[in-house]
């Protein structure tokens, strides 16, 4: 009994000392993982993930406080990237946080705009130009399609326009194979779609 306790106590002391020394010797600060995660996010800053932007979400993922499937703008592709980075299993987008939509940009109806500047303040990426009491315009190439400018507009003059394909943005499609992959699960239209 006593010898057991003595032996274990001795061990605990030695190991404790080693760990204590190491914790001071190998102290590290910062977390490069967050930046890597952040780089996988679309930077739309829309907050659909439940965080105040992409970086906070990245921090939450790194800390293990958020799952990897909460960013609708990133879509499946983004989740795959995260799963790959973090060595986790892919999982479909969490329905609580929204659905993946085709990319769109905001369009301000310039006839209706009253120049209240509220959308300018709302846009996280400075994509709206204009000054007070003047009509505002969205710089298409800067707009990330986050839709944050929609709610503040008092006259509801902002709408989302899906981006149309042209020759420059056209992509070669996935070749249709003669041997078809296993029969896909039948499409059940959701009630909302059907309505």
């Amino acid at each position: 009994m006593l010898s057991a306790i003595a032996v274990m106590a001795l061990g605990a002391l030695v190991l404790g000392a080693a760990l204590g020394y190491a914790s001071i010797r190998f102290k590290v600060e910062g977390d490069p993982l967050v930046d890597k995660i952040d780089a996988c996010l679309p930077q739309t800053q829309c907050g659909q993930c439940g965080f105040a932007g992409c970086h906070p979400y990245a921090e939450a993922i790194a800390k293990g406080e958020a799952d990897i499937n909460q960013c609708p703008p990133g879509g499946e592709e983004g989740i795959r990237r995260l799963a790959d980075l973090l060595g986790r299993e892919f999982k479909p987008l969490s329905a609580d946080h929204g659905v993946e939509k085709p990319k769109a940009v905001a369009l301000i109806d310039e006839q209706t705009c009253i120049g209240c500047t509220l959308c300018i303040q709302a846009c996280p990426v400075d994509a709206i130009v204009g000054a007070a009491k003047q009509m505002h315009t969205v710089v298409e190439s800067l707009c990330t399609g986050c839709e944050l400018c929609l709610p503040p507009c008092p006259v509801e003059c902002i709408s989302m326009e899906p981006i149309a394909e042209d020759i420059a943005t056209w992509k070669w499609k996935y070749p249709v194979t003669a041997i078809r992959p296993a029969a896909a699960t039948p499409l059940h239209p959701s009630p909302a779609q059907a309505a």
């Binding site: 996280p124 000054a131 190439s141 800067l142 070669w172 003669a178």
Partner: protein, 677 residues
């Protein structure tokens, strides 16, 4: 002259005899020409004619847009009836901007003036070729003038002229060499004079003995020392890199330009058109097109650019079972979704497709990793690995296996026993990767802007708090009444401080009252000077300096618009960089002085920039500039933009390649207005 060889390659049946029986024919004039503006790699030319304008053959209708871009010309005389989106000879079937010309039947040329290369000088010749619309006719349609300057490696060792024409069915270069060899040699001499290579090599596949003989004769006649080399017939010897390898033994990697290895390669037709342009003043308005395949009479035609493809096909009397038209050869060509699309500079061959001629492909089987494709690949890639990863959409892996070294020659596809459309998978993977890269760059940019905005918001908040605190302090201490003046004297736009504030400049001339610290004094002087200049620059200073350049530009445009629309509003508000003339407060704090100095310096810099270029669009990326310009144009068309906005501004380049979009220069009028108080 050693002939080298490249690994891989295939030998499909050549089918060239069908279309070489007849000499080159002159295609009859069409009634209507659709001339796409984007016909070469790089920027999209801007239209420089208007609807209703009368044009002559060879008249420039599209202005080169940047260095990697070439002008576009009217193929015949007539009237511009539309500038609109029209169907393109492109696999997508999507339309693009084109100038539609109704021919008047006279086919009158503009005044053609030969150029004198000696007088123009090398740079002049390059510019001349660009203006003449000379682009690579070998398939890549890369603006030739851009390829005509020496690369990093200094002087060129070899100039290679590509007469290989390795793809089955195509014979336009063959016929060109047979019938117009002298022009090709003269064009080659022109290139030689520009590039000064040590040797000039003309490579022709040995299945074209007539062309070789004709070229040899022409070279001898011209007294040049060009070597006409017969190269073994094997697809894709005509690929620039393969031909360079065969003729010089040099391998040009994908990540390099051939000039870095001291070689440059041009197609024979390119040399010919360059010579026509220089020696006769004829811009590129037509090209040779082989019309063959499932047709009654296969032949090469000299076809005007812009001729509807259906009309060209009709010349060859396609057989009734024709079920499509392939533009290009059977190995690399594309099936055209719409034969109303016009002939463009890249159209070297039109093949009538029929199931008898090109049997439908057997069903795709799984890859058995037999390695046939790897043995056939002229770039020694592992197509089945590329396929494996492209199919699985693991693009990172595909790139690891050098996806972007693939030239899409189709050799692998040709030999695959499983009939896998390998090239389609590679194209899919490549375009996905490009799209993703674009997205990533956009995300990165969005992130920077977001962070900048956050920083600004924070700073604003902090400054506001500070200001409030100071104001409170001042109130309490009851200091000099001068100091209690309003923070912003008569802002022109009352709402402006909501969106942005002059926070940077706010504490500007802080320390001008006391002289204890030298820095403070200097800063004060600078700030005072600054203020003076700013006041000079604009009668009513507005606090727009905290704005991003993009937004400043926008405001300027909007202001201009307002001005023209409602002249009764406030006197000419202009984007400027005036620091808010916040009165000096009594603090003698050194820190404040330093801050003030910095702020003043920044303000000064900004003001200078603003003075020089009121539309502060210079630090936008070309793409963003293009976007801004596009917005301008939209407004213009809805009648909202000011005349000032319209002057000088080019019409919107509906860019197809955002990266090569033009840098729209700021209208001079604005600049003038800003600098005159």
């Amino acid at each position: 002259m050693g002939i080298f060889s490249f690994k891989g390659g295939v030998k499909p049946a050549s089918h060239k005899a069908e279309s070489t029986a007849l000499p080159i024919g002159e295609a009859p004039l069409a009634a209507r020409y659709v001339v796409p503006l984007h016909q070469s790699i790089g920027g999209t030319p801007r239209p420089c004619v208007a609807v209703g304008d009368a044009v002559l053959r060879g008249q420039r209708i599209g202005e080169a847009d940047g260095w990697i871009s070439a002008a576009v010309h009217a193929p015949t005389s007539g009237t511009v009836v539309a500038i609109e989106d029209a169907p393109m000879p492109h696999p997508s079937g999507l339309p693009a901007l084109a100038v539609v010309i109704e021919a008047d039947g006279c086919d009158a040329w503009i005044e053609r003036q030969p150029a004198d290369p000696a007088a123009l000088g090398p740079d002049g010749v390059r510019a001349y070729l660009q203006q003449s619309g000379v682009v690579g006719l070998g398939g890549a349609v890369f603006p030739s003038h851009a390829k005509l300057s020496a690369g990093k490696a200094g002087a060129l060792d070899e100039l290679v002229i590509n007469g290989a024409e390795c793809e089955p069915y195509i014979t336009c270069d063959d016929l060109l060499m047979r019938e117009r060899a002298e022009g090709i040699v003269a064009g080659t001499a022109l290139f030689r004079d520009l590039l000064k290579p040590k040797r000039v090599l003309i490579g022709i596949e040995d299945n074209k003995p007539e062309a070789i003989a004709a070229m040899q004769a022409a070279v001898a006649k011209a007294g040049e020392d060009f070597a006409v080399v017969a190269v073994p017939t094997r697809y894709p010897t005509g690929g620039a890199k393969e031909l360079i390898r065969v003729l010089t033994g040099k391998e040009v990697p994908a990540a390099q330009r051939s000039t870095d290895q001291g070689v440059q390669c041009f197609n024979v037709a390119t040399a010919y058109t360059a010579w026509r342009a220089v020696a006769f003043g004829e811009p590129v308005t037509s090209r040779l097109v082989t019309v063959t395949g499932n047709v009654g009479s296969a032949r090469n035609w000299d076809v005007r650019i812009g001729t509807p493809i259906a009309e060209v096909m009709a010349l060859a009397a396609p057989n009734p079972d024709t079920d499509g038209v392939v533009m290009g050869g059977p190995m690399m060509g594309v099936m055209l979704p719409d034969t109303a699309a016009p002939v463009v500079k890249a159209t070297n061959c039109l093949i009538a497709h029929s199931p008898a001629l090109f049997p439908p492909k057997p069903a795709e089987m799984p890859c058995i990793r037999c390695g046939e494709c790897a043995r056939a690949c002229p770039h020694q890639l592992q197509p089945f690995e590329l396929y494996w990863w492209s199919r699985a959409k693991n693009f990172g892996k595909a790139q690891e296996y050098a996806l972007f070294d693939c030239i899409e020659c189709g050799c692998c596809n040709f030999v695959c026993p499983s009939h896998i459309p390998l090239v389609s998978y590679f194209r899919f993977a490549k375009s996905e990767i490009w799209a993703r890269e674009k997205e990533k760059a956009a995300a990165e940019a969005a992130k920077t802007r977001f962070e900048f905005k956050q920083l600004r918001d924070e700073r604003e908040k902090a400054e506001k708090a500070e200001r409030l605190a100071k104001a409170a302090a001042r109130q309490a201490e009851k200091t000099a009444p001068a100091a209690t003046a309003s923070e912003r004297p008569a802002p022109a736009a009352p709402g402006a401080d909501v969106t942005t504030s002059a926070t940077v400049a706010a504490p500007s001339p802080a320390a001008d009252g006391n002289g204890d610290a030298e820095a403070a004094k200097k800063a004060a002087i600078a700030a005072a000077l600054e203020r003076a200049r700013a006041q000079r620059a604009s009668a009513v200073p507005r606090n727009t300096d905290g704005l991003s350049p993009a937004r400043q530009a926008e405001i300027a445009a909007i202001d201009a618009r307002r001005e023209s629309a409602t002249p009764a509003t406030a006197p000419t508000p202009v984007a400027s960089a005036a620091p808010a003339p916040v009165p000096a407060d009594a603090t003698t704090d050194e820190e404040a002085a330093k801050k003030a100095a910095i702020a003043a310096a920044m303000a000064r810099a900004r003001a200078q920039r603003a003075a020089a270029k009121p539309r502060n669009t210079d630090n936008l990326t070309p793409a963003q500039q293009a976007a801004v310009a596009a917005i301008d144009q939209r407004r213009e068309s809805t009648g909202l933009a000011s005349p000032a906005g319209a002057t000088g501004t080019a019409a919107a380049p509906l860019s197809t390649d955002p990266h090569a979009a033009p840098a729209s220069s700021p209208p001079a009028a604005d600049a003038d207005r800003t600098s005159t108080p």
